[in-house]
Each structure stands twice: as structure tokens, then as C-alpha cells.
Symmetry: D2
């Protein structure tokens, strides 16, 4: 139960989005309580590889690339700030990302991306100098120098520990069943009882869908399940991440490679299947053929929260003042967490926020005539 | 999502209680759908040692010993029935249980227990012939021959698999947020959407508390967390379970011993702590001193659903017809699962049920003047 | 260190072969010490699925089918005997094995097998009545009713625990470096020091190769690595094992399926690779297509000890009296353990042993002109 | 098997000592082959907390503090060097170590230590400002600023990966049975066969004992088993390691605390026991009382290789030229690995080595009249 039965802001969900929100709110001197059904940074957060792919997802971000990029840049200062405060190190790993191109069409699709200063084109030979075991089938690769990666579970716990040090209350193993508007405040019903909050932020990933529906919003958040594996690299080291067509190979500190990920629409089961693992191995071999001889470590799955247009819902409910959503970050939750945390904190504090972002992420936006593909 | 958007009976909770209910309902040819937030038989069910302690808990059962005993006896037929149907074997392990007595007071408290045919008194020497490494500090032990044990996670999955074969639908990774009475039926809201059911059975262990409160019932279900460890017995075999003062050592098929359990009131955190583990080791050494040299395997914790008088809530809601509860089985969920499953099936089908049980377990019973101790 | 510095028989290796030998020797009232580098029943023993395939391997056994069959039958009495003594249950699971036939050639190759009383031919329809999800691509299946299975790690530990109860000494975490013939006895050098034994039995699976070479035997024992996976069967139950072309799907008590196994010659690495896992999934899907939707649990690998002709080496060294080998059981170690244990005990005690078996398994037999294929 | 059947230097043992030796030899352009029975950096290396305790062990190091200190300093350059080359990050974590003092006697024993520039005395209040939850029972603490720590398994793998990049051959899953002096070279017998080497370095930790004995050295290396646990710190962050009387609490990147360690003499079993875990918890509570409420994660054990005087054996065999030992580093293997690797490389290359170190570590030194205590 809460230390008192009231808090200023209640954040529902202790994944990386909720953790970042709690951190930025606590920095703004808000009295925050964070509620997580299981453990901080578990489930979809832990399942992520942690790539900060502001450029690898450039095409998808469209006019909100600036949001993605600013969130990516926030990680640089957060790394030192949170390490200093919490003693934790979320392993921001340099090396960047090689986005492979197998055809000249793929090369051409990236024309505008290639104009950006953090992006460089590598010929096949140049790419293979960076990753000697890379497939011979590519024509080249975009080298996205700033698309580094972090270890998501640690990043999420760094945020929540940082928030704790700034006075936030963190409640794990606490399940929220409903959020009820009681005029001057919200009543939040949890397994243990209930408490009240002036503001509520729903940041429960795909499980936000229920609250969404309950508050009369028409939009849905559905899962796109991703299956991943980890392998032990007993061959030459891999310093750069490799990426193609939503599949990736990401090196960790300890010689492990994180390899993912499938895309299964509307599958709520959080465990990997045999066919998912088969697909992940197949795609990894296309990028790095020698990976087939590496040793198996483990497999897992996570649910990406998908929205109709691929952009997250970040904003206040149009009718219920004080009720915010920050969910639907799809496969970019790790990248967008600092930006989301800062934006929510600014919205709650009444600070100015880039109006283009507000518009792009508003939670009652309508689907355009053309719905998003399953790209 | 459901195959259709309506079912006859919705069971909320896929622990051993919910699984047994689904099985008995399916045997009664009900169209059943079982909803489990994680995996069948996980959490508190998996955390249990699986002792069928109708006699070791004799004092606590009081006038409903007959219910406990009949549930214990149901396991004998279920073992063969479910093995035959599902190919699964929930490892009903003979050997019974030695309930140690360290003082003559403890011996005397068991006078009425000792009258029962399945119970035998062993002197210290007789007890040590059965378990040579037993502590010398006892004066003797009650030998409860029929308090055998099962492997709870397998038992729970056997029930759900049996139900599946009889036509039930099993939905794992499906979270229920609310159950709404809509006159002729109930609307059940899940993450994925909603569906309707003629009857609903809440069997969510301690997490049933929320639904309880929501339907106007005054009683609470609170957790009594139990911390356990498993050790590898590299010494002489242990054929019998050992029990004293709610602490136990239970042998599994594979030479592992399950050792438990602490009692932490109102602790919702599902992971063991250092002090809990210290306590479990201390108590185990009091019973079996040589266990201190055995090898560590792992630790875990589970939440026992505790009610004000120690009896479960099994029955229909007094005002909301068609809404049933089957929760609050405290540390006896495994033992009481078949009895509970059968009772709920009979209540729903309108078959006769022992009126003493109905009375003892009814969900709106009032606390007597003297509340239950934390024994 | 040993309790004394001398033992009658030293058994080197605590897998299922060494454990069974220790058990049968202890039953013969020999003073036995068993030495295992890691833990009893780990490595190749734990990696095995546990099928007792006297008939599924009928073609390979040739003239020593009688040995395989008698070992299979020994399990029936051992199951009750060891359960009684040790309280352990190695889960001998009925249901037998369906050996699939995809072509009429496969059917014909089994003509002599099909004459045996424990074997029955099933048409495709009959086979699919037993396993509804079986592939449609088969023409039928041999139903090998007595090729049941056990859980290998538990079986191995039951043997060693049984031996312990009969007075044997069991030393885990004890590495043997060399065995030196000192005329009247053998000196066994272990990490901790050394001790002497009248007789020594090398039962170290593929790692026996070193001792083999050191004692002047020309034959080699090489690994054939097998990679396996476990999956959670959340579909209809599987009661029978399924087998084809050295690949299998074996159901355990708890709803898990054990799926294996690749054959990698001369690979000493004990961990699975991505390509191995890919192959196991591919072959499993050919037998049971719906398995692709089942949930991943884990993967592992084990080293089968392969000999030049596929038969184990069981017997006394031709020159060094008192030095025995029992190794090279290839993929049939679990099946042949009781037979091997009994045979070694009989050889050491001077009891009669089937001369055909002695001949077939003698450790200095010569390769015939035609060497064994890699079938 | 080796790519060729001869190598210049064979290193036996792939823990952190053997890995560091291989790395420094490869840097010296030696043709090196490293043999590891299991996996690089497993067993005792993985079991270590990774403290670089040149100062916390100051009293024990006596006249070879300079060796410990120089090895500690080598880590600073290695960190960047190996990260650059291999992409791996062995997590050298700043924060230093608080060596608690509970009595004024403890304070006085450290008089000479306290003279060193990297050491500072903290009063109780100062210590508690650094670690607020620290026990009130201390009178103060030595703050050892440079006794930082690394993650041992990653450090070991960084060394071996670095060696691989410099041309070394790494053989995991390869067991060495014997090393035979064949005049001009050594024959090394492995499970797979044999090969020859000009020089051999035995770096097998406590398992070096066998080779020691075989080559006529009188000294023994015996295990001092250490049992450890990991806990999840869900309280305030811990930035500094805490140390007292060989027990410690060390924070990792990810909010885990590594807590150890018992000292069990001559226990070769590599798994923790219940009494060991009890002791570790008890000692941790004496240092940081609130740790008792933290969550359990896991437990393990490792074998420290202990010598008669507490100093490692590093040097050439007095009679068998070209045979080197580098073992017996007791609880300081991680700290001393770079120094040992460099010293062995220098000895083999004929480069000058500090004569005091050579003398202190020579492998045939005799015990003095007063043997080392079990401090």
C-alpha cells in the first residue's frame, strides 16, 4: 500500500517508458508513485535489444525524426547522470549500426537518410572491413554511427532508481485494475486496495489497450510479438550492430549477440515458438552466415505495442483532464523513452512542447484513409 | 480472443483451483473458457510443495475435515483418470508425512487426530527408523500415512489439459480487468477486448481480492507469502515428508527436497528475501540437522491467499446470481482443488452439496467475535 | 579423499553406465568406489531422451538384439526395486514408440523387426488415431510397444543412490587423471591425490578414449554430438514417442516434449549451435507439423560415444588383468545401462556371461574390412 | 584437434590466469594454444566477485604488494586496449572499497596500509555518508579508492578473445590428462589425442595440483571453497564495495550485489551448501543490516587454489626446462591475472623480471618453520 493514500502523479507501468516518466517527473519535483505489476524493466523492456535506432527507423519516423533524434541525444547525458547518481551503468555501447543493402533499390530508398551527417555509405568492401564475416550478398551498407545501443533492463532500472533517489515511490508486484475519474482527482484501484492521484499516466505498453478502450478512445494498441535469441560469439568479435529488414544482430559487453526479431501480429503469448526461432536463425544467417556455427544461449519473446499509424500515443485525454497516455511505442520504446519521459513531464508541468510532436502523438488522432502496412 | 464471443462459464484464474474447476465443469458438459494472466499452474500453484495435508492440518480444518479428506481421496482416482487421458503424471508420491512432536504438549494437542485410522503414533526410535537423520530432539511423530504429495504445476496442467480434451477453451496470457453484471449475463473485460458468459467463477487466489471488493463483499483476501528452497539430497534417501509448525521437507522423484516455508503477512512481493531464506534453513536444520550439508539448488516464493477465518470462499455471490468465487485456500490450495472443483461444478449444475461445507465457505459469512490468529 | 586409501573396485565415470555398474557390483557385495568428475548423471546421460529403443534400433543391434532386449527388460524390475529402496522414481513412461515409415522401402527394411511379438504395424489411419497431429506424409508406422522411456538423470541417480545404500562410496567432483598398473593392484591418480583398487572399470563415455589409447588399444571412441530441444506442448497430449531416422519427439510427465537429435561427428563441444537447432526443428516438423507452433523451453547437447562398429566396448583388457572398460554405447547408453552393469558385475565375479555378447563387445576386437557407415 | 600438431607454447587452463597468459604471450608474438576443459572463464573465475584488492589484501601481500599493485594498474590500460580490440567491456567499476573496522584493534592493524596514497580513513559518519545503510557498529572504515572491481568472466573472455585476434588458438571442451617431457619438447595428451609444444604453462587453478605432484614438487595446492550469493538491491544504490574479514558486498552494473564468501578448506565440491549460504547472509547482515530485506537471485561456489604460504606459484620447473606453473592465486586470481600473464610472458621470452617476485613465487620454495594460518 502507499505510504499515504494520495500522490500527485501516478504512473501505471514500470517498463522503460514508465520508468523514464517517473524519473523526469521526479526531477521536476513532482511527488510520483510508479506502479508495476511485476518487476521494473521486465517483459517487453527486457525483451528489447536496446538499439537506439533514430536513423535505422528514419523512414518510419517521417516528420517526427526530430523527436527520435532528440531522445537519442538525451541518452548521452543520461548515461553519465544516472551512473553518477545510481552507480548503475546501462552499458551504452558504441560502434553504431550497419544497415545492410542487398539491392540497389534498397540503396535508393535511403537517399534522404544518407544526407544526414551521422550517416555514411559503405561499399561492400568497406563494410566487410568493419565486419569481416558479413555476407557477400550485400551491395553495401549504411553506417549509422550514432545508432548505438543500451541494455534495456538496466536502463529502465536506472531510471526508476534515479526517480527513487529524487523521492519517487516505486511499487513493484502491484497490479492496477482500474482508474476512475472522481472529479477533483483519480481513484486508482489496485489489488491491495486503492489510492488517489491528481494526475495519472498510463504507460503499460500493449496492456494500455484496456484503459484506452475504457476511456472511450477508439484507437487500439495491439501486440506485435517479437521473438529473439542470444548466442555466444566464439568467433571474431563483432563491434557493430547489423540490421536489415527489421532483423538485427547486436553485440553485448560480454561476447553475447542478441539476435531478433520476428513480427507476429496480435499474438499475446509472451513466449517464443519453434517457427519463430527458425525464422530468426534464417534471417541472421542471411546477414552473417558464420553465425550458424555459434553456440545457443537462450530465447525469449516480447510484445511490441503497435498503433494504427506506427506512432505512439503521448498526451492528455481529450475529455478527462489529468489522465495521460504514453504507450504504443512499437519497436522503438527504448529509443523514445527519454523523449517521452521529458515530454510527459513538460505537458504535466505546463512547459512548452514542440507542437508537431503534440499533434503527431495525440491520443485521439484519427486514422487517415490509408492505414499503415505491416512493414 | 475467444473463438466465439460468448461462453457458458468463464473461469478467471488458471492456478490449480481454476484448472480443477474447469475440469469438473467440462466433465459436466459445460462450455467452459479458462482465463489465465500468465501460464497455467504458475505463481502460487508452482510455489507449493504439493502436500495433501488433510491430517497435518486437521486442527485447522475443524468441522470441515470431511471436505479436506474427500478432496484428498479424489486425487486417487484423478491420478489414474488424468494420466490415462492426458499422458501426464502429476507424481503422486507415497510415503506419507511425519509430523514431528518436540514436546508432550504437542503430542497432547493431537489427541483427536490420533484417533483417525490413517494416523499412527511413532516413538522417537520408530520415527528414526523411517528417517535415520531425523533430529534427536523429538519425543515422537504422528505418521500421517495418507498425507502424500503431488507435483502442483503438473497437477494443474493435467486438469487444464483434461478440460481441453473435454472441449474447454484455455486462454493463457490473458488478463481480466473487470467483470460486469449485464442482467442476463456477465461481460468480462480482458486486455484483448471483451466477451460474455452466463456464469463467472473467480479463482484468482489472492488476486481475487480486487473482484471481491468490487462486488461489495466486506471480506478481504490477503497474501501470506511463503518462501521456499530446493536442495539436492546427496545423503541417504528421504522417503517420507517431514513437517513441524508449518515448516516442511518434501522429497521429489528426482532426489530434490522441497523445503519451506515462511509466513509473511500482507507481503505482495513474489520473490524470496535473504531473511526468509535464513529462516527456512534454520527451521529445516531443527528437523533434519544434516540438511545443512546438502547442496543448494534454488529458491522461490508464493502468495497464499488468506481469509479472516482461514477457510476458503467457495460459493455464489449473495446478490449477483451466476457470479461465483473459489479463492482463499490459504496453504491448502493443492489439497482442496479437486473438492473445490467438484463443489463449484455441483453448485452451478444445481446438484446437492454438503450443507455444512456450503455454510462454512459461503462468501459473505461474517467474522466471529474472535478473529483467527496468525498460527 | 577416500575413507580408506584402497577399494575393491573403482568405477571411473558417474554417468548412467558407471552408476549401473556400481549398483550391480554393490548388489554383489563388492566394495565399490565411484568417481565422477562433475555430478552423477550429468553431461551425456542428462542429454539423452531416455528411450529404451531395443526395437527402434533393431537393425543396428543385429546379433546382439538379445542383449538390448534383456537390458530393456531389466528396467521393469529395477523400476520397482529402486523406487522401493531410494524413494526415487525414474519415470518409466508407458506408451511405446511409433517408428514412422514414409516410403514402402522403409516398411520393407523392417520385415524382420515386424515379426517380433512386441511390434505391430499401424496404417496411417491407425497411427493418426494414436497421434492425431501426425504428418499425413507417412504410409504407416511400426508401433514398438515396449520401447518406453525413462528420465535418464533420475535413473542414473537412482542407481548411484541404490549403490550408496548397499555400501558403495560415491565421489562427485573428483577427476581421474591416470590409472597405473602396479602389479597386484591399480593406482588411480585423482586431483586430490591417489588410492589403490583391485579392479578398475573405465566407464567415462567418450572421455574413455584417453584411457583406451593409453593402455595400448588401437580402437578409438569418438563423439557424435547430439543437439536437442525441449518444447511445451500446449496442444493435444502426446502419449507415444515418435521416431524417424534417428530423430524423435518424446513426451515427459509434465507436458514437455524432448526433441532431438543431430549427429555431428567428432565435435567435442558440448553446447548446441544455431544450425543444429535449425535441423532439429526441421526434422520435428516433418514428423509432427503442428509442433512449429509450440513454445520453446530450452536446448542442450550431449556427446554420444561412438565406436568403429557401433557396438560398445565391454570387457577386460587383454593384457592388464583387472582393468575393465564399459564405454562406447553410442546413442543407446540409457537402454544398455542395466545390461552393461550386470555384465561387468558378472565378469568381475567370474559368473557366466553370454559368450556371444562377450565376443561382440570385447575391447580389442578388430575392425572388419568394411567400416561402419555414418548412418 | 590442433590445426597443426605442434605449438610453441601450450597453456593448460582457460580461467582468467591462463587467458591472461595467452594474451601476453600472443602480444609477444608467440604461437600459443590455450586448452580449457569447459568454457573460457567458467568455474573459479566466474565464481569470483572481481575485486581488485591490492590494498584490502595489503597485509597478506607483504613484500609483494608491488606485484599486486602493478597488476592492479595494468587493468587500467587493459580496459581500453581490450575494449578497443574485442568490443567487449569487462565493466571496470569505480567506487573503490570500504574496508570496515569494528574495533580499534582492527584500525591499528592497518597502520602501514593507511600510509599509502590510495588509502583514506573515514570516520563512521563519513563512511555512512558514502553508504547510508551501513551498520552502526563500525568505528570507521578504510576507503581503498583504487580497489575497484571488474566482471571476471568477461575479463577472462576479453583476454582470450584478444589473444585469438593476435593469432592464438583457443580450444574449449578439451581436457588435458598428462604432460610428458620428451627431451626437446613436451607431449600434451588430451582426450582427442595428443600434440607437442616447446613450452607448457600449467594454469589450472586448484586442479594444477595433479601436475604439480606428478612433476615431483612437494607443495600442494588445495581448494578453499567460497560460497556466494547474488541479491537484487531494491533499496538505495550501493556505489562502493564493502569488505570485512574476507566477506564482501560488491555492486554490479545492473543493481545486483555480489555477496560472499565462505572459506571451506579442502572441499572440492563446486556447489554451495545450506550452511554456507546461512553464513554468507549472516556476515552480510553484520555489514549492511538492511540487506536482509533484499531479494534473492542465485547462489554458486568456486574453489580458490590455496598454497602453503598464500602466495601463488609462478615460475619454471626447477628440473623440467620449459615447463611453467602459474597457479595458486588463492582469492586474488582476478587481481593478479595481468601481472601473472606479463611475468610468465617475460620469463618465457627471457626478459627481466623483478627478482623479489621471482623468489617469492618460485614453485619449489620450501615452507618456512611457521606455516600460514587459515586467516
Amino acid at each position: 500500500m502507499l505510504k499515504t493514500n494520495h500522490t500527485e502523479v501516478a504512473v501505471i507501468g514500470g517498463g522503460i517508458i514508465g520508468s523514464a516518466i517517473a524519473y523526469y517527473l521526479a526531477k521536476d519535483k513532482r511527488k510520483v508513485a510508479l506502479f508495476e505489476e511485476r518487476k521494473i524493466g521486465s517483459r517487453s523492456t527486457s525483451a528489447a535489444a536496446g538499439m537506439l535506432g533514430a536513423h535505422s527507423e528514419y523512414k518510419e519516423f517521417q516528420h517526427v525524426y526530430s523527436f527520435a533524434r532528440s531522445s537519442q541525444l538525451l541518452y548521452k547525458e543520461l548515461y553519465h547522470e544516472l551512473k553518477e547518481q545510481t552507480g548503475m551503468d546501462f552499458e551504452m555501447k558504441k560502434g553504431g549500426l550497419l544497415q545492410l543493402a542487398f539491392t540497389s533499390e534498397e540503396r535508393e530508398e535511403r537517399n534522404s537518410l544518407m544526407q544526414l551527417p551521422a550517416v555514411e555509405w559503405l561499399t561492400r568492401e568497406e563494410a566487410k572491413r568493419k565486419v569481416p564475416h558479413l555476407t557477400d550478398q550485400i551491395i553495401g551498407a549504411s553506417f549509422l554511427k550514432e545508432d548505438v545501443h543500451v541494455t534495456p533492463a538496466i536502463a529502465s532500472n536506472s531510471f526508476s532508481k534515479g526517480a527513487l533517489l529524487l523521492g519517487a515511490e516505486i511499487y513493484e508486484f502491484t497490479k492496477v485494475f482500474s482508474v476512475v475519474n472522481e472529479y477533483s482527482h483519480y481513484k486508482v484501484n489496485i489489488t491491495q486496495g486503492s489510492f488517489t492521484a491528481d494526475q495519472v499516466v498510463i504507460a503499460s505498453g500493449v496492456w494500455s489497450n484496456y484503459f484506452f478502450q475504457q476511456t472511450g478512445l477508439m484507437n487500439a494498441i495491439i501486440p506485435v510479438k517479437g521473438e529473439c535469441i542470444a548466442v555466444l560469439n566464439d568467433q571474431l568479435p563483432l563491434v557493430h550492430s547489423i540490421f536489415h529488414d527489421q532483423h538485427y544482430i547486436v553485440p553485448r559487453n560480454n561476447n553475447e549477440l542478441i539476435v531478433g526479431a520476428t513480427k507476429r501480429w496480435d499474438d499475446w503469448n509472451e513466449e517464443p515458438t519453434l517457427e519463430g526461432i527458425e525464422m530468426v536463425i534464417k534471417k541472421a544467417k542471411e546477414m552473417l552466415p558464420s553465425i550458424q556455427g555459434m553456440r545457443w544461449l537462450r530465447s525469449w519473446a516480447g510484445l511490441r505495442p503497435q498503433t494504427f499509424d506506427g506512432f505512439p500515443f503521448i498526451g492528455e485525454h481529450p475529455e478527462q483532464k489529468g489522465l495521460y497516455f504514453a504507450a504504443g511505442h512499437q519497436r522503438n520504446g527504448i529509443l523514445l523513452a527519454p523523449g517521452t519521459g521529458k515530454m510527459i513531464a513538460n505537458l504535466i508541468s505546463g512547459n512548452p512542447v514542440n507542437s508537431e510532436w503534440v499533434e503527431a502523438f495525440k491520443i485521439d488522432r484519427l486514422p487517415s484513409a490509408v492505414s499503415i502496412g505491416r512493414g
